[in-house]
């Protein structure tokens, strides 16, 4: 009846996926890595949980908690991730969501090994940084140490004008080698301008991944040199652009930051980062730690209260240096009321 359909197909779908015992063309040792970007905010500083890498191998760069997915032990991908995090850091993960699955070749520490023997699935987890959850191992490190150009809390970071912009402009002059992909690609100069807000273009705080990928492509990230990327060795004065990480973990962290910044605006996920009770100012400071710029205090209050995201506990927090602040808690009922909103803060006027 539909025999004519299988004309050009090499494996018929039924065979290849529904009968896994027929592993015709599968790589025997294709591994799946589960990687956790665990984010918190500690003292108004956004932090990620990292483990120090093996000093013998790549100079003790950091790694995210991770481990291989083992379908015999792990019921789901996420439960596998939780098990690895528990095992490596003692942390009992709360909120977690899948980010992306990466498998580009050459994106790890062993160049010359052309085919990727693993695929990494990145996850974002949000938690409180304070001593909860029994952390036994690992280190909370500010995510701006890995991405200093993302820290706009004190205005535009100097590193952009000093180290990044001139080199990206130089890189844009050189022609791209291969135009892979079928999508119409955007010119290097335009990409640099849009990503880093050059020449008056507004800064988009959500483009964290695009920016890191651009630096990697331009050979400016340490990982590009490590991977033997084309172009990385052409820089005679490659500056230090944040701390590198092992494998593609900095890329995963960049994806996590992008997602966090986007999601905080349309889903009530900030509260995963907050203690049970907090003042509106503390909430605002947490949002600003994530997003960067400063928000209008009165409007922030109006927004958060107006959306029904919080409710007062009835108590106040004194010793704040002024009038005592009312304490609030997350109003969980919003989750039952239509699509629960986030802290929809509009982008402040671009200050480039």
């Amino acid at each position: 009846m539909n025999m004519e359909l299988s004309g050009r197909r090499k494996p018929t779908p039924e065979k290849s996926q529904l009968a896994p015992e027929d592993d015709h063309e599968l790589e025997p040792s294709l591994g799946i890595g589960l990687n956790a970007a665990i984010v918190a905010v500690s003292d108004n500083e956004p932090v990620a949980l990292v483990v120090r890498g093996d000093p013998d191998s790549m100079g003790a760069t950091d790694v995210l908690p991770f481990g291989p997915f083992n379908p015999r032990e792990h019921r789901t991908l996420e439960s596998g991730l939780r098990a690895w995090v528990q095992d490596q850091t003692g942390l009992d993960l709360g909120y977690a969501e899948q980010l992306y699955t990466f498998a580009d070749r050459g994106r790890h520490a062993t160049p010359g090994d052309a085919a990727p023997n693993y695929v990494s699935i990145g996850y974002l987890a949000l938690t409180q940084a304070v001593g909860h959850h029994g952390l036994t191992n690992g280190l909370w490190r500010s995510w701006y140490q890995y991405f200093p150009w993302e820290d706009w809390r004190r205005g535009r970071p100097e590193i952009i004008a000093r180290d990044i912009e001139p080199r990206l402009k130089a890189w844009a002059e050189k022609p791209a080698l291969t135009t892979t992909g079928t999508q119409p690609s955007i010119a290097r100069g335009d990409r640099a301008r849009i990503c880093f807000g050059l020449d008056g273009t507004a800064w988009d705080e959500e483009k964290v991944l695009e920016r890191f990928e651009l630096l990697y492509e331009a050979g400016l990230a340490d990982e590009a040199a490590r991977d033997g990327r084309n172009g990385a060795d052409e820089w005679t004065d490659r500056p230090k652009l944040g701390l590198p990480m092992q494998a593609d973990h900095r890329r995963i962290l960049a994806t996590a930051i992008s997602r966090t910044r986007a999601k905080i605006k349309y889903r009530p996920v900030v509260f995963e980062l907050m203690p049970d009770e907090f003042t509106l100012y503390e909430l605002q400071k947490t949002v600003e730690a994530i997003l960067g710029p400063h928000l209008h205090k009165q409007n922030f209050r109006r927004l958060v209260e107006g959306a029904g995201l919080v409710e007062p506990t009835g108590e106040v927090k004194t010793r704040t240096g002024g009038r005592p602040a009312k304490l609030f808690r997350f109003r969980r009922e919003v989750l039952l009321e239509r699509p629960a909103p986030g802290v929809r803060v509009s982008a402040p006027p671009s200050r480039s």
Copy 2:
């Protein structure tokens, strides 16, 4: 220096991922499937490209184009996907983006096989349905055939009140068996209400995946019975709720619809579905095919033109039954101007 860190870790990160030849605990035959949900709009009908399944196996249910990822042949996941789609349908994919990676056990046709031997990575591709790109195999089928409850173009679909609502209410009465996961779970009744807009709750057209997962969990999707899901056999009168697909392909398609509906609002992806030249009314009809409800024509024009998404070609399309409509084309320059917007249409007043 950081020896104290490796206390409880079973595999040190460096070993497990960076030295893949040490495949200590890896499943030998863990395969990675690449699945493409290819979406187009044909005659104001949103369609997906499917291939008829093997009639010998599961009753000739449909499958999405897919195949295993082979790192020896495929440079990236996406290029592997493109190769399989090309191979199975002849289609040369344009826009494509990764959706999600699924690996729940039991989500395929062979019950009793507890451990998942494959992981499926779903992709969304957008294209024009018309004869371009040399389609040699496969079938464009309206996505509402798989998800009839999602079609709100002619008001609230009857199937909700007739077949879905009463059964979900009954299901909500029964207690949930196991509360897995560490997140505070929402009660069944609330989930059903929020997902399907029951009891006056507004309909959220982006919750396509949540709705399908709920039906699957409640044992109301054909796939749940096929997989031997708990509860699926308890329905003595399980209604036909859309066409089933093989493996977890309907879940992937649901994810694709969710993503399409969300993304069309904040990125200019509609134009992947349009011919080079089109009238604003045709554009509006395409958006409505995706999102469902009807939009205010004048405001739609104002929005689309005001955002600089289109530019007039100078020509008009006559024989439209009335005054000739100006032809427009996508203004590609918006991609170079800050975050390029989508067709930000606000949800119309809920008509439940």
